[in-house]
């Protein structure tokens, strides 16, 4: 996938480089990359400095779902999606904290107090993990 690097901006004439990057952006638009089926709007993965907020990767969501199922002792075919709320799956507050701790261990991150309070669904957990893993 074409990546826009900051180093490419240091060219003799700025207007040329801007045109180049614009051409590259349009190049990205025409490239077809796998849409995982979650959203029909293709999300552009720009470079770190120009980060647009993207949805979490599917494998992250799957790992989160596996940890939730193990913690709440749900059967393997229980319907747990990105939108499931922990409370709806039968987790009390201590279970939620324990799930967050399990995610900390699995992904080797540390979740701040304020961020931990706001997690109520699987998708939010996956998004926060993505944000912390990238740091």
């Amino acid at each position: 996938m074409a990546s826009i690097t900051r180093a490419s901006v240091s060219m003799p004439s700025l207007s040329t480089s801007v045109n180049q990057s614009q051409r590259r952006i349009s190049g990205l638009n025409s490239v077809s990359f796998p849409v995982s089926g979650r959203s029909m709007i293709p999300s552009l993965r720009l470079q770190r400095g120009l980060q647009v907020c993207c949805a979490a990767k599917q494998e992250t969501v799957d790992k989160v779902v596996a940890i939730v199922k193990k913690q709440l002792a749900l059967p393997a075919d229980a319907a747990v999606t990105g939108e499931s709320k922990f409370a709806a799956l039968g987790a009390d507050s201590l279970d939620t904290v324990e799930i967050v701790m399990g995610l900390e261990e699995e992904f080797d991150i540390t979740v701040e107090e304020e961020s931990a309070q706001s997690i109520t669904t699987v998708q939010e957990a996956a998004d926060m993990i993505e944000k912390l893993v990238e740091k």
Partner: protein, 137 residues
């Protein structure tokens, strides 16, 4: 893992003031639980528990201990229990306890005989296992 251990450093354990309300006591319980969970890798390292138990089992042991007192509503009682829990955690992390204490209290816990994780005893017969357990089977 270095981040988590640093986040849970328990160098100085002081008595805190009483919590003003049940909500504050509740927040302190979660904070204590998080500190404990973040210290679990250190504990496993200190007492060489890698073959006996894994982290999530220790985590569920801790949470079941906390859940045993989940019905209490008096903030002062909760504070007292937290005080005892913090003291226990401090003792464990400072290596004041020994391996058999940890195994007996938190790995085997309320369950009885620990299921063998090693390959040594997997082939023995059920007769022998029952025999070791009790006289009557």
């Amino acid at each position: 893992m270095g981040e988590r251990a640093a986040a849970a450093s328990l160098k100085f354990v002081t008595v805190q003031a009483n919590s003003a309300s049940l909500a504050e006591a509740r927040a302190r319980v979660f904070e204590f639980f998080k500190t404990t969970c973040r210290s679990i890798p250190t504990v496993m390292e200190i007492y060489n528990l890698q073959d006996v138990v894994n982290e999530s089992q220790l985590r569920s042991a801790v949470s079941s201990e906390i859940r045993r007192h989940a019905h209490i509503t008096n903030p002062k009682v909760i504070d007292m229990l937290l005080q005892k829990g913090t003291e226990e955690l401090h003792n464990i992390v400072q290596h004041s306890k020994q391996r058999h204490h940890i195994i007996g209290q938190y790995v085997v816990g309320q369950r009885g005989l620990v299921h063998d994780l090693g390959t040594k005893d997997e082939g023995t017969s059920d007769f022998l296992k029952n025999f070791y357990k009790s006289n009557y089977f």
